[in-house]
Assembly symmetry: D2
Homo-oligomer: 384 residues x 4
C-alpha cells in the first residue's frame, strides 16, 4: 500500500523518529511493490529519448532501457556532425538497438518521445531542459544542473552561473529512497551524482535518527574509472590508471555540495562533511567508507536495525547481515546500494561502508528508477 | 621542530644529542649520506640468506639484493620437500640468480651467510630467530614476531603465545625514519608491517610536534593484492579481486597494534586509532588516507613544513609539493614513502595521504634499508 | 551458400528438410523468431534446478534465470556440508533469489524441478545425469561429460573412463547455431565448452562452404580468468594473473577434441587443429584469432557474406561490418558471438576473429539458449 | 673474447650453419662478457641526453639510466612551452633525478651530452638526427625513422616521405642479438620496435638454421597498453581497455615491414609474415605466439637446442626449459626476451612463444643495451 495513492499511510517503524517537515521519511515512501497497475495501464509503454547517448551513462541507460518491459527507446542524440547508427558508435548494440544517433534536434525528439533523459555535461543540460519541459515532456536530468534549489550553491561549486534558474523550483532531487513521493509527482527530476548516492544513503538514516554527531562526518570514497566519463585525457588512459591508486580534489569535489544539502535536510541542521574521492583501477563501482561519531554508545546491531527500519520499503537498499561488509563486486551491474556498519568499541567510532555500481545506482539505474516513479510504474520495473 | 627538544634546532649527526628516551628523533638520525666508508670497508661484501624465498616478499628481496652492490645472496630456503633451482620456482630469476632453494637447514645457512632475512609467516619466525642469533648472525625478520616489546600485545592481536620472549628485549622496530640509531646497533631487527609503514610515517611527525589531537586518528588504507601473500584462497583469486573493491577486518586488523605502539611512542601518550584496510584490484601499492584534527588551526603549508623538517635527513620520505597528492604509481618499485597533506578549511580537519609500494618500502626495500644500517653501509645503498 | 544444400535457398523451420546426415545446416534451424507460441503455452513457466550453483557458471546461470520470464529457479545445490542461503554464499543474490543452496539430493531436486542444469566438474556430471534422466527430467549438462559420442575420445582427452556410456547416444551437442533442430528434440544436452563455442562458430561456416583448407587451421585463443573456475590455486591468484599474459597447454588442451569433432562434422572430413589457449588479465571474455588458408583467393567481403549467409537465422551471432574487428568488450554480459574476418592479400591467408563472453555464450547463456530450445520457447527468450 | 676486438674470431658452435654475407651470426657476436675494460676506462662515464623524456619510453630510459653505473643523464627535453622540473612532470623522479626538462635546443643538448637518445614520434626523429650527428654525437633513435635501409619501404608503411635519406646508409638496426658487431661500430642506431623485437628473436634462428618454411610464418602478438604511448585518446582510456581484449591493424601494422626485413636477412630470401597485434588489459609486456611449419619433422628439444645454440652469447635471451612456457610476468621490468617452443606432433606445426617487457627489451632497455655496445661498455652494464 503506497502513501498518496489512496491507501492508508504506511505504518512507521515503532521507534522511528518523527520526520520534520521537509525531511526524508525513510520507511514511508519507496514502496517495493509499487502502485497497483490496473486494467488498460498494464500494457502502457512509454516512449523515451536519450539525449547524450554515447557516453558511459548514456550507454548504460540504453542497456537498461532495452530490457525494460514498459519503455521503448525511440530517439538517441549525441554531439555529432551527422547521424550515425548507434551500433556503429558502440557495436554492443548491434542487433539489439538499431536506431540512429543524431545531432540533437529538440523538435524531433519531442515528436518521438514522452520522456527525455538528459545525459549531458554540467552546464549543458540547463540549456535544453527548458525547451523539453515547455513541450510538456518529462525530463530526467543526469547532470548536476538541477540538483540545487539555490542557484548560488550551484555557481559556487560549478563555477558557472545557472542559465535556467526559473526551472529550479520545480526540479526534484531524484534520490527515491528519500523522496519517492516528491519524485512521483515531478516532471523534472535531478538525478543524483554517483558519490552522493552512496554517501547519502549511508549517512542520512543515522543523522535523521539522531544517532550520530552531525559535525563529525568523514567520507572516504573509492570510485572506478568510468566515473570520469568517456573522455580522452592523459590522466585517464589505461597506463596511468592501472596499477595506480590516487586521491583527487580532497575536500573540494563538487559533489560535496549535494551531499551536504541532502544530509542537512535529513539532519534538520546545516551539515559540513569532509569528503575525499579516490580513483581505483577498475571500471565500475564506488565503495564509500564513512566515519561517524555516535551521540551515545551504540552497537553494530543497533546500527543495522536503524538502516533496516529506514529502508524497509526501499527495494534497492540492502542492509548487509552483521559481520558482512559491502563489496562493489556484489552490486556490479545492479541497481542496489549495499550498506554495512561496524561500531568500533576500541575507538568509540562508527564505520559505515556502502557499495554501488556508479553507472547503475549511481547514474543510469537510478534514472530509470526515477522514470518508473514519474511514470507510475512499479519502482523496480526493469531493474531486477 | 620536535617536541621535548626544548625548541632548539635539531643538531646533525654524528654529534647528535641523545634523544629523549623512547621517543623518535626525526631530523636526527637517518642521515641520507650515511656513515663515511673508509679504506678497506669500501669493498666490504656481506653474505646474506633469504629464509622463505618463494613468497612475494622473499622474491622482492631477491630482486633488490641481486642488484645491491655490497650484498651477495648465498643461501635460499623455502618450505620444500627437496631442493629446487630458484629459477624453476620463479623463472624471473633464470640467468640472474642461479642458486638452489632448499629446505631450511639452520646450520647450512649459518655456514653460508652473515645476515639472515626471515621472510616467514607470523609465528614461524620466532622458532628460527633464536638459533640464528645464537650463531652470531644478524637477523632481519619480516614477520610480526618481534615487533612488540610486550609479548602480551603480540598474543592479544595474533592469537598465539610468543615462543621466543627472551629475544624481545634485543629486537628493534625497524622503521629507519624513526629509529635509525637504534637500528644501526641492532642484531635483530623487526621489519615493520606494510600498513604500519605508510601510516606511521604519515602521522608520527604531526603527533610528535603536538600539532594534532592524539585521540582523533582515523586511517583509511587501500592495498594491492600482493599484501595478502602468495597463497591460494578463493577470495584472492583473480575473478574475486579484479573489478572489486572491499574493506576487511574493520577496526580489528592486527597491524593496529603496531601502529598504536609506534604512534604512542611518538606522542608520548597511549594512542588508539581507527584503522580500516581495503583491498584494491592492483598488484602493488598502499595508499593511506589519514584524517586528523589539529590542536589549533593550521595551514597546508605549515603541515608540509612539519614533514619536511621531520624528514630532512630521511632519504626515503618525499614530501610532495603543495597541491600535489601522493599516488602509488609514483612509488611503484621504489623504496620511497610519498607524503602529501591538505588542511581542509571547511571542516577544520587535516587529510594526510601517503603512498608506498607494499613490497618495497612496506617490506623488502625497508628490510634492505635496515640491512644497510646494521651493516654500516650508506642507508640508500642499492635502493635508488 | 550452404554445403549439401544444392544451392537452393534454405527453407524455414518448422518444415525444414532433413539436413544431410551429420552435417550442420547453418541457415536452417536456429530461427530467430523461434517457434510460434500458441494459446495456453504463452504463460508456460518451467521449474529449473541448478546443480552446482556456487561456481562462476552456476552463478551466471542464476543471473540469467532470475531475469528469464519463463523460468523459475526452484532448487539450488552445491558441494556443501549443510544448507546455506544462496545470498550468504554470494551476497549478489540477496533480495533477488532468496533460496537455500543445499547438498545435492536427487529426489528432492526431482520433486522441485522439471529441468536440471548440471554445472559440475568433468567426471562428476556423469554420475548424476542418469538418475535425473531416469526421473524424466530434461538435463542440460555444462561439463564435458556428454560432449562426445565416442567414449574413447572422452577417455583419451580427459583421462578418465566414462561411467555413463549408455547415455551418450541420446546426448546432443548443444551448439544451437549448428544443431538447433536436434536440440529442440533432445532431453540431454551437452553444453559446449567456452573455447569451442568461439572457435567452432568462427570456422565451421568456411569449412562447410568449402572455402578453406581443412588441414590448415590454427586457433589462437585468449581467455579471461573466470574460465578457470572459482577454485583456489596459486597460479590463479590476483598477483599471478594481473599484469601477466601467458599461454598454457599448447596443442594439448582438452577442448581440442570438441573443436575437432564439430569441425569434422562441418567439413565432412576428419579435422586436426592447432589450438593455443592463453590467459588474459581480465575476468571475462574470449577472443579467438583463427588463421586459415583459402582454397582459392577470397575477399574479406566474400568471407563476411559467407558468415552472414550461414548465420542468417542465428540470433546470437553478429557478423561485424567490413573493417570492424570483434572485441570482447562488445559482448560482455551478452549471449552474442561476434565474428569478424580479414583476407590478408599480402600472405594469402584469412584471419577470423570471434569474441564471446566465456560465462554467457561460452557457458550459462548458451545453456539457457538450449533450455529455450528444448522447452519450446523462443530461442532468444530472456537472453536479450 | 669479443670478435673484432683484437682477439681471435669467436669459435662457432660446431654444427652452426655458415652465415651468408649480411646474415646474422647468432653465436658469434653478442658476447655476454662484453669487452674487457682496462685501466683508465674503468671509470669512464658517458653523458647522455634524452630527447622526448616525458613519454613512457622516455621515462623508462630515465629509470634505467639513473641506475646505470657508467651513464650520467645531463639533458632532458620534451615538447614544452617552457622548462619544467622532471619531477613536476613525473613525481616518480623526485629525489632521484632533479633535472629540468626543457624545450629542445639542439645546441644546448650538444654542449651537455655525448650520446643522444631520440625518443620521439615517427617522422620527428628524422628532423633531429642529422644535426646531432653533424655535431659528432652518437644517436640512438627509438622511432622507426632509421630502421629501414630503403626509404621507399619507410614511405610505404609510414605514409610519409623520408626527410633524411642521407643518413640511412650509416644507420644500424639495433637488435644486438643479431647485429652486435655492427652496432659496436655504429654512430646512429635505429632501436627496433617492440613487436619486432619479440617476433624476430623468436623466428630468426629457426629461419637461419633452415629448420622452417620461410613462406609459412604467422605471428600473433599480445601487447600491454603502454605500447600505444602516453597519449590521450578515447580508445586507450581505462574504461575502454580494461576488461577488454581486441585485435587491431590485422595484417597491416607498420611493424610488419621491420619484421620482414630482418627475417629476410636471416633467411636469405624475401619473407612475408602474417602479423596480428592485439591489445591486452595490462600496462606492460608482449607475448608473441608464432606458428611455423618445419621443413622436416623436428622435436621440441631440437628446437630448444637450436635457440640455445643461436643465443649462446646473448645475455638477454633466455631459452626456457622443455615444458615451460614464456610468461610476460617473468620479464616485467627486465631486459630479457624469454623464448619457449613446442613441436606439436598432432598437426606437425611448431609453436614458439616469446615474452618481453615492451618498455624494456622492447624499447628503453634495448636502447641502453645499444648504448653499452656503441660505448664499449659490457653489454649487460646497468641492465641486470
Amino acid at each position: 500500500m503506497i502513501p498518496g495513492d489512496g491507501g492508508e499511510p504506511a505504518p512507521r517503524a515503532p521507534d522511528a523518529p518523527r520526520p520534520a517537515a521537509g525531511r526524508p521519511r525513510f520507511v514511508v515512501d519507496s514502496g517495493a511493490g509499487g502502485p497497483i497497475i490496473r486494467g488498460d495501464e498494464v500494457n502502457k509503454l512509454i516512449r523515451v529519448a536519450v539525449v547524450g547517448a554515447t557516453g558511459y551513462t548514456g550507454c548504460e541507460l540504453l542497456e537498461i532501457l532495452t530490457r525494460h518491459p514498459r519503455a521503448k527507446v525511440t530517439s538517441l542524440t549525441a554531439k555529432l556532425d551527422h547521424p550515425i547508427l548507434m551500433s556503429e558508435e558502440s557495436p554492443r548494440f548491434a542487433g539489439r538497438l538499431d536506431l540512429p544517433c543524431t545531432p540533437l534536434d529538440v523538435e524531433d525528439v519531442c515528436r518521438k518521445a514522452d520522456l527525455v533523459f538528459l545525459s549531458l555535461p554540467h552546464g549543458v543540460s540547463m540549456k535544453y531542459a527548458g525547451p523539453f519541459r515547455a513541450a510538456g515532456k518529462k525530463v530526467i536530468d543526469l547532470s548536476a544542473d538541477f540538483r540545487f534549489r539555490d542557484a548560488a550553491v550551484f555557481a559556487q561549486w560549478y563555477g558557472v552561473e545557472h542559465a535556467a534558474q526559473g526551472l529550479l523550483p520545480e526540479a526534484v532531487y531524484g534520490l527515491p529512497e528519500l523522496r519517492a513521493d516528491e519524485i512521483r509527482g515531478a516532471s523534472l527530476v535531478a538525478n543524483p551524482g554517483c558519490y552522493p548516492t552512496g554517501s547519502i544513503l549511508a549517512i542520512a538514516p543515522l543523522l535523521a535518527a539522531g544517532l550520530v554527531e552531525p559535525g563529525e562526518i568523514i567520507i572516504d570514497s573509492k570510485s572506478g574509472a568510468t566515473g570520469a566519463g568517456r573522455k580522452a585525457s592523459i590522466p585517464m588512459i589505461f597506463g596511468e590508471v592501472n596499477e595506480s591508486f590516487r586521491a583527487y580534489k580532497v575536500g573540494r569535489h563538487q559533489h560535496i555540495a549535494e551531499i551536504e544539502a541532502e544530509l542537512g535536510r535529513a539532519a534538520g541542521v546545516p551539515i559540513r562533511v569532509l569528503f575525499t574521492p579516490h580513483l581505483a583501477p577498475m571500471n565500475r563501482g564506488i565503495l564509500t567508507t564513512v566515519y561517524l561519531k555516535p551521540r551515545s554508545p551504540v552497537s553494530s546491531s543497533a546500527l543495522l536495525d536503524a538502516y533496516r527500519g529506514a529502508y524497509a520499503r526501499s527495494p534497492f537498499v540492502r542492509v548487509m547481515p552483521p559481520g558482512a561488509l559491502a563489496d562493489t563486486k556484489n552490486v556490479l551491474g545492479l541497481n542496489f546500494c549495499d550498506i554495512s556498519a561496524v561500531a568500533d568499541d576500541r575507538t568509540g567510532r562508527i564505520v559505515v561502508i556502502s557499495a554501488i555500481d556508479n553507472l547503475v545506482k549511481g547514474a543510469a539505474g537510478q534514472a530509470v528508477q526515477n522514470m518508473n516513479l514519474v511514470s507510475g510504474f512499479p519502482e523496480t520495473e526493469g531493474l531486477r
